[in-house]
């Protein structure tokens, strides 16, 4: 283990300790403020205390799972490093730690969505459900879905070109292995596969809700989860692209300098810029409010009294009134 690796492990341990201390020292007021910030970001009324309590409890549980996932991922990264000292070479923080941390946190949060529903499915109670299939397009804006596709295509293309270069004899397998492209491509394939599987599973999970507001809150929580998974895909894809594209150029030209900068410098700049744009874009109001506007439009959720339903909803007690469906939402 070289000095740089030890330095980054030290940084990782300090950050983990800081996170654990920050988590342990959070007061009820801080937790409440954090929940309130989430309420404001999705533009939904907190509604009756039961909804407020359920959402607060769920977000805290998800946060705990995220931190557990982060710790697990850090352990995996450290294990990889100890078992395989050369892993990542001098690029350990980029290639191993950051994707592991992001993936661990997102998957930890996703595990909450896979195990628990926001509201309990109480039997023998009137339930509300959406009568159309929802897809990932209802939760993640097109620009973010396209970002995932573009980054994925770029990485796949670069990896393909690298393999073609080796197969045509332009470069050797040893050269290819030195670029870290194969390991990065393998890790990314696994992460993308797991994230896509998680998305499909979460979409298929039930959304038990007794009011439209409860369903809207469930949608908001899901949207947040899907954006987190999409961000993981983009960031991991960017990291692969930052290895694959300069790696391919290096294999092609044998030159490591472009316009006076090394390939690594250029790719790190592009990676940092891409990550900043992705994080800022996905956490912007257009990202956080997307599913709210797409699935619920101008719905104001008036009439969501505790345990009740909206005024426009007809009581389902007689055949003539069964037709009074819960309109408005999409």
């Amino acid at each position: 283990m070289n000095e740089q690796q030890l330095f980054w492990i030290g940084i990782g341990v300090i950050v983990a300790l800081w996170l654990a201390l920050a988590r342990a020292s959070r007061t009820a007021w801080m937790r409440e403020r954090s929940a309130r910030q989430f309420f404001d970001s999705v533009s939904l009324p907190p509604g009756p205390p039961a909804i407020h309590e359920a959402v607060t409890h769920y977000t805290l549980r998800r946060e705990r799972s995220g931190l557990a996932g982060l710790a697990f991922a850090a352990l995996v990264a450290l294990s990889v490093l100890l078992v395989w000292p050369g892993a990542g070479g001098s690029e350990l923080p980029w290639l191993v730690l950051i994707p592991c941390a992001l993936t661990g946190m997102a998957f930890g949060q996703a595990s909450t969505a896979l195990r628990y529903t926001l509201f309990p499915g109480v039997p023998e109670v009137r339930r509300v459900a959406r009568l159309r299939t929802v897809t990932i397009a209802d939760y993640v804006p097109a620009v973010h879905r396209w970002a995932v596709t573009v980054v994925c295509a770029l990485s796949a293309l670069a990896v393909l070109v690298a393999v073609v270069l080796v197969l045509t004899g332009v470069a050797s397998w040893v050269d290819l292995l030195h670029t870290n492209i194969p390991s990065a491509a393998l890790v990314t394939t696994l992460i993308w596969g797991a994230a896509s599987w998680g998305e499909r599973r979460i979409l298929g999970r039930p959304q038990p809700a007794t009011t439209t507001l409860e369903l809207a809150w469930d949608d908001a929580i899901r949207s947040n989860m899907f954006r987190s998974l999409a961000l993981t895909k983009v960031v991991v894809g960017l990291i692969v692209a930052s290895y694959a594209v300069p790696g391919v150029l290096l294999l092609l030209t044998g030159e490591s300098l472009v316009l006076g900068m090394t390939m690594t410098d250029i790719s790190r700049l592009a990676l940092a810029l891409g990550m900043l744009i992705a994080i800022a874009s996905m956490n912007s109001p257009s990202g956080t409010l997307y599913s709210r506007l797409r699935l619920w439009g101008e719905e104001d959720f008036a009439g969501n009294a505790p345990g009740g339903v909206r005024g426009r909803t007809a009581a389902i007690s007689e055949p003539a009134s069964v037709g009074g469906v819960v309109g408005g939402a999409r």
Binding site: R127, A129, T133, P206, V309, I316, P319
Partner: protein, 119 residues
């Protein structure tokens, strides 16, 4: 386009689902080619047995309101307004029966109008 099912209602849950789907299609809220949730998903959302949703879907399909396309899922039928088509068929059958019974047109219309009044 939401539906609600009340397990305490006198109306069976499958009928509640069926009637609400028809209402949404008739009102134009559920447009043709809209993909409906799977039987299992809708059943778990509404807290009813999968057989309940399956029965509602079967009856809606028999009425031509929805159609199942194998593994692609269940969609709102694209062949015009199925509820109106079904109503036209029922009206034609009713008219045939009235003629067989020898009921004058004016009386038949009065009878249908009376039957349509809310009870």
């Amino acid at each position: 386009m939401l539906i609600a099912v009340d397990p305490r209602s006198a109306v069976p849950p499958f009928e509640q689902i069926r009637v609400q789907v028809i209402a949404l299609v008739t009102a134009g809220d559920l447009v043709p080619e809209t993909r409906l949730p799977t039987v299992r998903k809708l059943a778990s959302d509404l807290g009813v047995a999968p057989n309940t949703v399956a029965r509602a879907y079967r009856e809606l399909e028999a009425d031509g309101i929805i159609e199942t396309r194998g593994r692609n899922g269940t969609f709102v039928s694209a062949h015009g307004d199925p509820a109106r088509q079904q109503a036209q068929r029922v009206a034609a059958e009713c008219a045939d029966r009235m003629r067989q019974l020898g009921i004058p047109v004016a009386d038949a219309l009065a009878l249908v109008e009376a039957a349509l009044q809310p009870r």
